[in-house]
């Protein structure tokens, strides 16, 4: 169980892995996540379910190697097993026939928004996708997103591919030109990106759903590590979310809470790099 069946490098620090987890795959739905440990001494981290195959019994995860745990994960090979794999956690995306929806994916968030876009397309929605990354190399899964979108706008911060823009620019244009046409927006990516996407759509009153990414420990509602404030109320991302109304999220609080262990994260990363020879 929890064996790595496939591994792919999607971008310089972005990898894809297909994990054998038949019982999780059987139940997985768009918008949900898993919590994994790489080794026994490892920490528990949440990763969005980027794809699942109920027949094969597999879950696909896409992750960016930003810290010790994700880097360690990136060193595992096909045939290795994860120490633990728990899911599917969180509430699935509320998929309905809304009409026309916009799905925005930033960086590794593109992999997270893909299953949502796909589910919305399957439910008969017209899907307009905006995907962006810092540069061409970091832009992942364009083909997958294209396959589930009626319209797609591709951008990079530096203009090395597609349009030179942050995702908020085409989003703003969509709002200015077609807000009445758009029923709902999903934005998934780094917290700061989701914050600015929400701020972009807010003046137009278009409901915007975000998938929050706080630090988690158990993922089943027992510790409160992942608590966020939405509409002035404290919510646990793992059981009340992970999706919330972006216009109601206290973004500054989320960003502050994401920084609690910055020192420890740096230290762990340095030690790991020393261990594997930089």
């Amino acid at each position: 169980m929890y064996e790595i069946l496939a591994k792919e490098s999607l971008a310089p620090v972005t990898k894809l892995m297909v994990i054998s987890a038949p019982e999780v795959a059987r139940k997985a739905k768009a918008g949900q996540f898993v919590i994994i440990r790489v080794v026994e001494e490892g920490e528990r981290i949440p990763l969005t379910i980027a794809d699942y195959d109920r027949e094969e019994g597999t879950i696909t995860i896409v992750f960016q190697e930003v810290g010790k745990t994700t880097m360690h994960l990136g060193t595992l090979e096909v045939g290795d097993r994860l120490a633990s794999f728990t899911g599917p956690l969180g509430n699935p995306t509320e998929v309905e026939h809304y009409g026309t929806v916009v799905c925005v994916g930033g960086g590794v968030g593109i992999a997270a928004v893909y299953p949502i876009a796909r589910a919305l397309k399957e439910a008969g929605n017209r899907v307009i996708s905006i995907i962006g990354a810092r540069n061409k190399e970091l832009l992942i899964w364009e083909d997958r997103m294209r396959s589930v979108s009626d319209e797609i706008i591709v951008c990079t911060d530096d203009g090395s591919y597609g349009r030179k823009a942050l995702v908020t620019e085409p989003l703003k244009e969509l709002m200015e030109e077609r807000a009445e046409e758009i029923d709902r927006v999903w934005a998934v990516g780094p917290a700061i990106m989701m914050k600015f996407c929400s701020l972009t759509t807010k003046p137009f009153g278009v409901k915007t759903i975000v998938s929050l990414n706080p630090i988690m420990v158990d993922g089943t509602g027992m510790c409160g590590s992942c608590r966020v404030e939405v509409g002035g109320e404290t919510k646990f991302t793992c059981v009340d979310g992970p999706e919330f109304d972006g216009h109601q999220v206290d973004w500054d609080l989320l960003l502050a809470r994401l920084r609690i262990y910055v020192e420890e994260e740096k230290r762990a990363l340095e030690l790991f790099k020393q261990k594997v020879g930089g």
Binding site: E41, T69, T220, G221, G224, R257, I260, E264, E265, A268
Partner: protein, 463 residues
């Protein structure tokens, strides 16, 4: 007529100055000589009151007599016929309010140290490699137990001993529930917990980790699709209560659950050898005064805090923690700020907690809980400098278990409605016991509930 020995045998323990620097067990236990000396104190009453005080009705004079005689295998047999996990209970049961409170010696002298003797026997059994009793032929019936905490482990072990096939579904990556994530190693070594769990597995119980019922499978699916004949719910009360006061989401404010889970389950005290970090600065306030609060305070000390305060809104007398744990905390230097309640937290410009506004309390007439109602004293507000806060004011059941459990009724507090004697819920073929039914209580009361449910499930399965 047996001679009364008024005082207990001293049990060795780590000195406070040393033990605040490690997570090793504080109470070091008896050896055979000390155990026999303590066992001598038991009067072997003809009408023992101690058995009545035990939630699982251990034949206390019976096992103590065996210890006195030096017959440890005999002591194990008597103990384990009523209690599957004696090494654990001997350490964490509040004996002082149970068996020891009603010991015949308790009125005028020090009661027999029943808990310490139970621990001694339990440890001896684990050290020799627990002997597996002969199991009856398989009944062909399958039971799903949800939660590998004290209630679930006990229920599973008892059912396995009756020949049923049992699978425990545990949400976390390690079994034990509060035994693993809640109670620190210096009170309950994890090796002891692991050894007791190995015993349960040797009885044939299968434990499936990382399996969250309500998500991976629902109770309806376990009964209707996965072929289980009965289900026992032992998921505990794991949803932490917060104060609901301003500033509570500042960095550095933890629920006790998060704090203890990081420290005990994820071994954050060994960071960076273990990857999960924990951040304890220098002035820690723990809000609450139960066993969880004591555990949190003592862990904070061991993690290097310079000052740790228990902040509690009632007085010493109402503190729910075990007397022994309060005593250990005091010895270790924990400060007690009683009749004090926080009303707001303040943070610095980085979003980290830096202070707490408190109000002094006085005690009024008893409230619903029977304890004196704490009433704020007007104008008594003051600020306390803190840079780490642990909120240990209790927990409620998590709602996940109710998803996909048609007909499973819950009370307004979120607990499962269940019969006290049998554990039967409102859903057919589903039983429940432990904190999920009673709200937060003790390891032993969860075990008692697990036993009673197992007996009723067994009766049901046999038709």
């Amino acid at each position: 007529m047996a001679k009364v020995i008024p005082k207990r045998v001293e049990m060795p323990r780590q000195k406070p100055e040393e033990r605040i620097h490690n997570f090793n067990e504080v109470a070091l236990g008896f050896d055979m000589e000390l155990a026999r000396a303590e066992a001598e104190r038991c009067l072997q009453c003809k009408k023992p009151t101690c058995i009545e005080g035990c939630p699982v009705r251990i034949d206390i004079p019976g096992f103590i007599l065996k210890v006195r005689e030096g017959d440890l295998p005999g002591a194990v047999e008597i103990l384990k016929s009523a209690n599957n996990l004696p090494a654990i209970c001997g350490r964490v049961c509040p004996q002082e309010t149970q068996c020891e409170a009603v010991c015949a010696l308790a009125k005028k002298y020090e009661p027999v140290a029943i808990g310490r003797l139970e621990r001694f026997v339990g440890d001896w059994d684990l050290a020799r490699g627990a002997v597996i009793p002969e199991l009856p032929p398989p009944t062909g019936k399958r039971v799903a137990v949800i939660g590998a905490g004290p209630a679930g482990l006990t229920c599973a072990a008892d059912l396995a001993r009756k020949g049923h096939s049992v699978t425990i579904f545990e949400a976390l990556h390690a079994p034990g529930g509060v035994l693993m994530y809640g109670i620190p190693a210096f009170r309950l070594p994890k090796e002891v917990v692991q050894a007791e769990i190995e015993y349960v597995k040797k009885l044939g119980v299968e434990i499936k980790l990382n399996s969250v019922i309500g998500k991976l499978f629902t109770i309806d699916e376990l009964l209707e699709e996965q072929g289980y004949d009965a289900v026992f719910i032992g998921t505990g009360a794991g949803l932490p209560r917060f104060l609901g006061i301003p500033g509570e989401n500042l960095n550095g404010i933890y629920s006790a659950n998060e704090f203890l889970t990081r420290v005990n389950l994820m071994k954050a005290y060994k960071f960076p050898e273990y990857d999960t970090p924990i951040k304890v600065k220098s002035k820690v306030a723990v809000i609450g005064a139960g066993n969880v609060a004591m555990d949190s305070a003592r862990c904070a000390l061991r993690l290097g805090a310079k000052e740790v305060k228990i902040v509690y809104r009632r007085s010493r007398k109402e503190m729910p923690a075990r007397a022994e744990e309060i005593h250990h905390a005091e010895e270790e230097g924990v400060i007690f700020e009683l009749l004090t309640n926080p009303v707001q937290f303040y943070g610095d410009d980085k979003g980290w907690v830096k202070g707490m506004r408190c109000v002094r309390m006085r005690l009024g007439e008893p409230d619903k809980s029977g304890r004196p109602r704490p009433i704020p004293i007007e104008g008594s507000e003051f600020d306390m400098e803190v840079d780490t806060v642990i909120v240990a004011i209790g927990a409620r059941p998590r709602p996940l278990i109710f998803e996909g459990a048609t007909g499973l009724e819950r009370t307004k507090w979120g607990t499962v409605v269940a019969d006290e004697e049998t554990g039967r819920t409102t859903k057919e073929r589903v039983w429940a016991g432990g904190d999920i039914v009673t709200g937060e209580a003790t390891v032993i009361s969860a075990m008692g509930a697990g036993k009673r449910a197992a007996a009723d499930i067994d009766r049901f399965l046999r038709g």
